[in-house]
Amino acid sequence: MKILVCIKQVADLESRFVVPDGATWFAETDLAFRINEYDEFAIEAAVQIKTALGEGEITVVSLGPARASDGLKKALAMGADQAVHLLDEQGPVKDSWQVAQGIADWAKPEGFDLVLTGMQSQDRGSGQVSIFLSELLELNSVSCAVGLDAEASLLKVERELEGGLRAMVEVSTPALVSCQLGLNTPRYPTLPNIMKAKKKPFETIEVGDLKPNGQDVQWMGAPTSAGAAELIEGDLASQVAKVVSVLKEKNLVG
């Protein structure tokens, strides 16, 4: 099975995000970067599927600036067989359609049987790239996977729905699945795999001109505060009394 895992390197959420005046994306200085958490589920799922099937080849791809290669290296250490870096310094500010297009242009001729992606990115969070990509690659797509079993040409995907419900979906390959929290616990790369990863094929391809953004970000920054928080002070009894009265006042308790 030829598996493609799409990953994105995102800023660690604990970072101090600074959006310079007039900019439409945060500045990258002083930030720590990591693989998008959902994409790690996708890498882990790919490695597990390959192990379960006893065959397969995992390619990991990332569209992004030079730093994205760190994420690709980690994915190789986790068990991917080869990496492709679609180098694009403008990657972080491109919209979902452009990113999907960039990946699809390269991926289409490769003929992957299974494409795994994270459900969304932790920074931009549009959750669109996987859907657009499946469209561009003309694949069936199943989103929000919390369970995934692969046979030679059939996937059984457990989907998380709203309201705590689950659905079981069967789809034949080729297909795209986007991964949700709870699918698996990504492995910690072992030292021999970190060392082996250094020797795995790693290709860097400059992304050419893509169709222009369909969207135009007008403004980015922290929202102006709407409601005011009230700090409840005093001794324990009066704090409790105050909390109860507030809850009642707002009709939050019966």
Partner: protein, 666 residues
């Protein structure tokens, strides 16, 4: 005429019996030597033994430790009893050797006899007293083994034979003496008989039997005594008695590295197929030898914070389990034998290694096995630990905070550039990010200012020292963090470093040496104690009742016991020590990378330690480690009864700084 003070060696023994006795001795000695030799192949399963270059000084050290019983005596009470027992049998052994020298070497070859006169009197009395001492001790040991539940639980099948044999050797020894004296001394040389009080008493009792019976009994019991002694010799390698040989032998094998040293693995080694300790073939000669040198005295287990809070780890059992795998000779899995839960429960507090009379090295083995799990399997004490590893990798701290915020705690404080500083204050992850420990970092800056010491910090350019990663077995992550820090230290030309965290202190000061960084590193307690002695700052005395919790890495690992106590005294605080303090301090539970892990098994170590603090009646438990402070803060909150406040020594000192700065007064 006064008879000469001596006795005939082998009195009443027909000369024809002697060759048989010698033959038996050779056989018994042979069995003993074979008993030890047969284990050699077990020890050799491991890495080749590196012969130490300093064998002479090692032998001297080993003899000194064995003869002074220094390590054994650390256990008050039973340790002293052991050394009495040792010397009781020691004197008897020396006595026997002297007989051998006279009867088998000097007398037949040169006709020289030295067991005569005043020396013989001294000899005779010494042996009589030593024998009595040994007899009392063996009975005491037997009673302890049979009636103390903890000892009874660890009884070995051969133990009873061993006590019986030793007891009978001593008893028959006295009987032979009494029988001989009844015939040769009691009447003929009563003055000399005084120098064998026990033999004298027995001789008086036995005298009525008449010479013929006395001689017959003497010969019979002499043979019985000899057989018992031969049995003793033969039993040594197969019973607990083996420690008589293996414990001193283990003193020769000690690692001459600083306390807490761990091998810095060559991770780039292309030939290495596996990292860490997985099977006996990964162990060092000494590691396997350790498993035989263990006498199962339980001292480690008695002190182990994990064992004492119902976790599945006993350092003693761990060594025994490893011993079993090695003895199987099948190169089986060490980790399966010990159990992962036991491995992850260790706080590396080193209480086991500190007390072990046989110098067994538990912690390097535990870390070695953790390394195998971490590096080869990507396995840690829990998911939360794996997350912390990830955070260390991405953010340079295990708490997951943004590296850019590393100096936020220092907002409004003034520092000098590194090149102008007396010390670089390596704040550490807790000092930098943990709100409670940030208070300590600020207190330290205030104290440095009061003492006129110029500090610099690296802020966002500082990274975790790597200690928790290393202790959890993640040597790869440790080395990458260490390399980055060292590069930064070198770039900034750092000369001296002060830390507030004993874990950073140990790592920067000792572990980084293996990575090519050798710079003076001090802990703030040392630095401030010195500055205090140099009158560099003043303190107002405040009467308060405190107890002091020794951090493992400051105390046991680095011997810093006095500096914090001197500073406490300087504040006028009344210090009441906990039952477990200094070398015997009880860990807070956060060492060995466990600060990153949930404590899901057994009861909580910090609660136990907090109740020890409470028992002193002190209002405050003072510590000087951010991990200890974190654990004591939680532990004291869970206490029932009198409340105890947890404080860092730096905070206590700041609270005693005079309101006016002393520098103006001077």
């Amino acid at each position: 005429m006064a008879l000469e003070s001596t006795r005939e060696i082998y009195w009443n023994i027909p000369s024809g019996s002697l060759p048989l006795m010698y033959l038996l001795s050779f056989v018994a000695t042979g069995v003993m030597l074979w008993g030890f030799y047969r284990r050699l192949k077990v020890y050799q399963q491991g890495q080749p033994w590196v012969v130490w270059p300093d064998m002479g000084s090692r032998i001297l050290r080993g003899l000194k430790l064995a003869l002074t019983q220094k390590k054994v005596k650390k256990q008050k009470g039973i340790g002293q009893a052991h050394s009495l027992f040792f010397w009781g049998f020691g004197v008897l052994f020396i006595g026997t050797v002297l007989i051998f020298i006279q009867a088998d070497i000097l007398d037949p070859l040169f006709g020289v006899k030295f067991l005569t006169g005043g020396f013989y009197q001294f000899y005779s009395l010494s042996l009589d007293v030593a024998g009595l001492l040994a007899l009392v001790m063996i009975v005491g040991m037997f009673v302890r083994r049979m009636f103390v539940p903890k000892m009874r639980a660890a009884i070995q099948p051969a133990d009873l034979w061993l006590y019986l044999d030793l007891g009978l050797i001593l008893a028959t020894g006295y009987l032979i003496e009494g029988l001989r004296m009844a015939v040769t001394e009691l009447v003929q040389n009563p003055e000399l008989a005084q120098y064998s009080p026990v033999g004298h008493g027995l001789a008086q009792l036995l005298y009525p039997l008449g010479e013929e019976s006395l001689r017959a009994w003497h010969l019979g019991i002499w043979w019985f005594h000899m057989v018992l002694v031969m049995a003793f010799l033969g039993m040594i390698p197969f019973t607990r008695l083996k420690h008589i040989v293996l414990t001193p032998a283990n003193y020769l094998l000690f690692s001459p590295t600083p306390k807490g040293h761990l091998d810095t693995l060559d991770l780039e080694d292309e030939a290495a197929e596996s990292f860490g300790l997985a099977t006996p073939s990964d162990l060092r000669f000494k590691d396997i030898f350790d498993t035989d040198a263990c006498t199962s005295c339980q001292r480690c287990q008695d002190r182990c914070p994990a064992y004492n809070t119902d976790k599945p780890l006993s350092p003693m059992k761990l060594i025994e389990d490893l011993g079993k795998v090695c003895t199987d000779m099948e190169n089986g899995s060490l980790i399966d034998a010990v159990g992962k839960e036991a491995l992850f429960a260790c706080t590396t507090c080193s209480a086991c290694m500190e007390i072990c009379p046989a110098e067994i090295e538990h912690i390097p083995k535990i870390i070695g096995m953790r390394r195998n799990l971490a590096l080869m399997e990507g396995e840690f004490a829990g998911e939360e630990v794996a997350k912390a590893m990830d955070a260390m990798e991405v953010n340079g701290n295990p708490l997951g905070y943004a590296p850019a915020k590393r100096a936020d705690w220092a907002d409004g404080l003034s520092f000098v550039p590194v090149e102008e500083a007396d010390y670089l204050y390596f704040t550490g992850c807790y000092g930098s990010f943990d709100p409670r420990s940030q208070q300590v970092a600020k207190a330290l800056v205030t104290l440095a200012e009061a003492a006129g010491v110029k500090l610099a910090i690296l802020g966002p350019q500082e990274k975790c020292c790597g200690e928790p990663a290393r202790k959890m077995g993640n040597e790869y992550l440790y080395q990458s963090l260490a390399a980055e820090n060292i590069e930064m230290f070198k770039e900034k030309k750092v000369k001296k470093i002060v830390t507030s965290c004993p874990h950073c202190y140990q790592t920067l000061g000792k572990d980084y040496k293996d990575m090519g960084f050798d710079t003076e590193v001090v802990h703030y307690t040392e630095l401030l104690a010195q500055l205090w002695k140099d009158f560099r700052f003043q303190l107002d005395k405040k009467a308060q009742d405190v107890t002091y919790h020794d951090s493992c890495y400051l105390g046991r690992y680095n011997g810093i016991f006095d500096a914090p106590r001197e500073l406490l005294a300087a504040t006028g605080a009344q210090l009441t020590e906990m039952s477990a303090c200094k070398e015997e301090s009880f860990c807070c539970g956060a060492g060995g990378g466990r600060i990153l892990a949930e404590e899901n098994l057994g009861t909580r170590i910090n609660n136990k330690r907090a109740s020890m603090a409470q028992e002193t009646g002190a209002d405050t438990v003072v510590s000087s480690c951010p991990f200890c402070l974190t654990m004591m803060e939680d532990g004291t909150k869970n206490l029932e009864g009198d409340s105890v406040k947890a404080m860092d020594l730096a905070e206590l000192l700041v609270s005693c700084l005079p309101t006016q700065t002393p520098t103006e007064e001077k």
